[in-house]
Each structure stands twice: as structure tokens, then as C-alpha cells.
């Protein structure tokens, strides 16, 4: 039995005027012990999906199961085996760090001591502040407390909804190191993020946009499926260069990418074709072959 199965789930929200399709016939399965990433921008449907799996929202159609339990029928059982960390901080702001943790342990009929091993690495970092009210913690500390509370009943599946949004590059790296350690303890983790560069840290990822899965594979598998030649190009006047690239023959797409512009060529063109053209039009331009990353893949999939 797969720990998480999402089977043709559709969810719409309606108001008097509009009907918004948050999830459009989404399906995927998460393997046991896997770190599975849902990667997509705001509005892709990530939170709706997580709330359905967490039994907090009911889908229009389709089926979601956690450890074989149905998200609608068996919601009570699921809540006992699932850890959920919502995107928005949702602990009790006027309880202390320690009180929050004890509260969640008690609700799940356990104690902090019983499962302390699991949270030790994370909780020990905020333990010096255990008498502080949760509302007075900094962003990074809140995040660690929320993760501790989500783990205190030793769930078999952990759902993390955008745990690194708005967090700086250093703290983001630290958070992913924590996730790696949790994975080693056998917990299945489903995590969502809008940061494409975090995709590489997952075992498998689903790229989502407008409620649909654009692609689902290992990060390397997704990168390998990028078939067009990709070049990195730069010159002294990047804005002018970009305009020229966009109208050049054989160019499918061109966009800024860090200090270079990335150029996606049509399949029957190669680097030399573009070099010949640019040498004439933009002398001094540097052109190298580039490896696509997840962001290139995402943009390519969005276009098609």
C-alpha cells in the first residue's frame, strides 16, 4: 500500500461570479520513505491539494488515501498518522514553546518524552527559549516549533506546505538538511515549494501549474526530458542581446538566467548556427552550451 495516493482529484471554488478550478484531475502516488516535492508557483493548487490529503477540505471528485485510508471516510484515523505543517503559522501564539508542544502531544495521546528522539535535532535548537510565547518567536524559530509539533505524535506521513517561503537562502538550506535527516528515520514526506532550486533535493517531484501536473519524475528524469539544445549567452548589453535573441532564426525561447541569457533552440538547430549569426550581429558575445535545470524545464512545460 502506497503511503499517499491521489487519484483523479478535482476541486473547484465557486462564487456568484466566478468558478475557479484549483485542482484539475490530479493523480500521483508517493512511495514509502520518499521525499516527494510538489513544485509550483502561487495559485498552482498546492495548498488545496495538501488540505484535501490532510482531511481538512473535501474534493469535488476523485479519491485521496493515506496509508490506504480514505481522506473523506476515514478522516479520524488519518489524522492520527499524519503530520501537517500548514503554510501559515498556526500554533497558539499565547502559549509558550513548551506549552504548544505539550498540547499537541496530549491531543495525540502521547507525551513529549515518548517521541523526543524524533524531534531532538530540531527542538533542541529552540529549547533554550521554551518559556517564550510562540507569538514572540522569530520566523525561523516558529518554523522549527511548528515542525516539532507536526512530528510529536510520530506520524508515518508528513505534509509540509511551503515551509521555506519567504525564508532566506541560508535558512532554506538548513531546513532541507533537517528534512533529509527526517527522511532517514523512515518518514514519508510530501513537501511543496515555489522555489525551483529546491526541486533537486527531492527524490521525485511533480511540477504543478494551474491545478495540473505538468510533469512527474525524478529531478534528473525531468531534466533529461528537456530535448531542445540549450545555450547560455552573454554580452555587454544584455537587454539589447535579449531582444536580438528573441527574433533570431531557430530560437524557440530566450530569457534572462542569472548572469547569462538562456536560449532554447529549435531541435534542428545547434550552437554553431547561433554563433554564426551573433558573431556578425553582436561581436564579443560569449556563447556556451548549458545544462537545463528545473526552472528551464518548468518554463518549457508552461509554454507547451
Amino acid at each position: 500500500m502506497k503511503p499517499v495516493v491521489v487519484d483523479h482529484i478535482t476541486k473547484t471554488y465557486s462564487s456568484k461570479k466566478d468558478k475557479v478550478t484549483a485542482l484539475n484531475d490530479i493523480s500521483f502516488e508517493v512511495e514509502e520513505g520518499e521525499l516527494f516535492g510538489i513544485i509550483g508557483p502561487d495559485g498552482a493548487g498546492k495548498t488545496s491539494l495538501f488540505r484535501i490529503i490532510a482531511t481538512l477540505l473535501v474534493q469535488d471528485s476523485g479519491k485521496a488515501t493515506v496509508e490506504g485510508l480514505d481522506s473523506v471516510k476515514d478522516y479520524k484515523e488519518i489524522r492520527n498518522i499524519l503530520g501537517y505543517m500548514p503554510g501559515r503559522f498556526s500554533l497558539y501564539q499565547d502559549l509558550t514553546v513548551e506549552e504548544n508542544l505539550n498540547f499537541f502531544a496530549t491531543i495525540f495521546n502521547t507525551t513529549v518524552n515518548e517521541n523526543y528522539d524524533l524531534i531532538k535535532d530540531i527542538y533542541s535548537q529552540i529549547e533554550p527559549f521554551k518559556k517564550r510565547r510562540a507569538g514572540k518567536l522569530s520566523g525561523g524559530m516558529k518554523q522549527k516549533l511548528a515542525l516539532s509539533c507536526a512530528l510529536i505524535h510520530k506520524p508515518s506521513v508528513l505534509l509540509l506546505d511551503e515551509p521555506t517561503t519567504g525564508v532566506d537562502a541560508v535558512s532554506r538550506k538548513e531546513f532541507w538538511e533537517m528534512l533529509k535527516k527526517l527522511k532517514q528515520q523512515g518518514i514519508t514526506i510530501l513537501v511543496s515549494t515555489p522555489y525551483m532550486d529546491e526541486a533537486g533535493l527531492c527524490d521525485r517531484i511533480a511540477l504543478v501549474q494551474n491545478g495540473e501536473v505538468l510533469s512527474l519524475d525524478t529531478p534528473q528524469g525531468i531534466i533529461d526530458s528537456f530535448e531542445n539544445p540549450l545555450l547560455a549567452v552573454r554580452s555587454n548589453d544584455m537587454l539589447k542581446l535579449l531582444k536580438r535573441l528573441k527574433s533570431a532564426r531557430g530560437v524557440d525561447d530566450a530569457y534572462p538566467f542569472g548572469e547569462y541569457h538562456h536560449v532554447v533552440l529549435q531541435k534542428n538547430y545547434n550552437k554553431d548556427d547561433l554563433s554564426d549569426y551573433l558573431v556578425k550581429e553582436e561581436p564579443g558575445t560569449e556563447i556556451i552550451s548549458a545544462q537545463p535545470n528545473i526552472e528551464d524545464c518548468f518554463m518549457n512545460l508552461m509554454k507547451n
Binding site: G43, A169, V170, S171
Partner: protein, 248 residues
């Protein structure tokens, strides 16, 4: 880009009790420059930015923004800058057109100016058909592009952008930067913060704050050379890992 300084900061400091949020920072920004203002959470970016926007008085040091003094002329500063952030930019329950009129009105623009420019801006954004829709019903990427146009609608000399592209899809993120480049080419100075390190590469110069101080300031390529790093991400990590205080 000209040689004229539109932001000039010298020893700017802000203390809250014993805590030194911003610790003697100094830098200049030239007209039409795209200046990236980076730092880890808690490094003091927001406090520094609030002082430059005329929203918070410094404890010591000097700064002028658009030629106005941050101590004595903060009202003039507010009139001559634009501001947009990821968290707060537009009123969701006003329409596209109403938002534009509201902001332009606050800056004292004439009805005629607003009418003519609204049309132009909506056309550029391909939002002419959405002019009477509530902003809350637009996709995030459109909202952010609209918010940027609104922030520079009154034609300020400088625009402050506080994490303008957080959570935005990669295609829209690039369209957004395209708008930034165009605004800069038209002489608007851009002062921008971001957590996306690839965006740091799009800036003319970048400063990196650590523990309230500016620890590095140069063009992206010089910073990479200085710190022997392949990317701005590595430069940032090398500097920010040294931080003693953080948001964590």
C-alpha cells in the same frame, strides 16, 4: 545611467534600545541604476529601507533620497519615490482601474493625467479587458506586474521593491524583470530586495547586509571574483553563514 547620485547614505544607523538594527551603512546609488539590496532575514534590510523611504528616523548618520534629507524632508521623499512589496501592494476589493486612480490620486495627479496614462498602462500590461475586474480575481503574476506599474505611475525618480517576485512563476518573474529594465532605461532608479539569487545577477550592483552592516558591495561579477564564487548564491552563502544574529 548617469553620474548623479539619487540615493546617498553615509554612516546611517538605527538603534532600538541596545540593539543596533542598522550599523553605520554607507553607499550611493546613481540615477537609472538597478541596485540589489540583499541580506538574510533579520540582517536589517527592512529597517534600512524604512529609513530611506522616510518612514523611520535614523538614530545617526546621514542620508538623502532624491535630493531630500531623511531627517527633515521625509514628506518630500514619500512624494518622490514609489514603493511596492510582495505582501502589500494593491487593494484586492477595488478594480484594476480603481486601484490606479486611488494611488495616482494620493500622489496628487490630475484627472487628465490619470485618464491618459491609465489607458497606456493597461495596454502595455494587456489588461485593457480586465480594467473593471477586481484585483483580487487576477492571478498573482498579473497582480505583481500591475502593482509595479502602479508604484511608478506617478513617475517617481526612485522605486523601492521589497521582494516583488516572491512565489511568482518563473516566466512571469522574468516578465517582471523586463519591466524593471525598461523602467531603469527610462531613468527610474530601482532599489530591490529579493531571495532569488539569480535575480541578484540582474542588478547593476549588489550590496549584502550581515548583522546590520554592509559586508560587500559591488557588481555581481566583481563580487564573484572577490569571494571566489561561481554564482551569487555562493557569494551570499559565504557571507550570510558568518552572521551571528539571524531570524532563527
Amino acid at each position: 545611467m548617469s553620474n548623479e547620485n539619487v540615493i546617498s547614505v553615509d554612516g546611517l544607523t538605527k538603534r532600538f534600545g541596545h540593539f543596533v538594527a542598522v550599523d553605520h551603512i554607507s553607499f550611493d546609488v546613481k540615477r537609472g541604476e538597478i541596485f540589489g539590496f540583499l541580506g538574510a532575514n533579520g540582517a536589517g534590510k527592512t529597517t534600512a529601507m524604512r529609513m530611506l523611504c522616510g518612514l523611520s528616523l535614523p538614530t545617526e548618520g546621514k542620508a538623502t533620497v532624491a535630493g531630500f534629507d531623511v531627517y527633515t524632508q521625509n514628506e518630500q521623499i514619500k512624494k518622490n519615490i514609489g514603493y511596492m512589496s510582495q505582501k502589500f501592494s494593491l487593494y484586492e476589493n477595488l478594480t484594476v482601474k480603481e486601484n490606479i486612480r486611488f494611488y495616482a490620486g494620493i500622489y496628487g495627479k490630475s484627472d487628465q493625467f490619470i485618464r491618459q496614462k491609465t489607458e497606456k498602462v493597461l495596454e502595455q500590461l494587456h489588461l485593457t479587458n480586465e480594467a473593471d475586474k477586481l484585483v483580487g480575481s487576477l492571478p498573482l503574476g498579473w497582480k505583481q506586474k500591475l502593482a509595479f506599474s502602479v508604484a511608478i505611475f506617478h513617475e517617481p525618480g526612485i522605486v523601492f521593491l521589497d521582494e516583488p517576485t516572491g512565489g511568482v512563476d518563473p516566466v512571469t518573474r522574468r516578465e517582471f524583470w523586463n519591466m524593471i529594465y525598461e523602467a531603469a532605461a527610462n531613468g527610474i532608479t530601482i532599489f530591490v530586495t529579493t531571495h532569488y539569487m539569480d535575480e541578484a545577477e540582474y542588478c547593476g550592483r549588489v550590496s549584502i547586509m550581515v548583522d546590520g552592516r554592509i559586508e560587500a558591495l559591488d557588481t555581481p561579477s566583481m563580487l564573484k571574483q572577490q569571494f571566489d564564487a561561481a554564482s551569487m548564491d555562493q557569494v551570499f552563502l559565504k557571507l550570510a553563514r558568518k552572521a551571528e544574529r539571524s531570524d532563527n
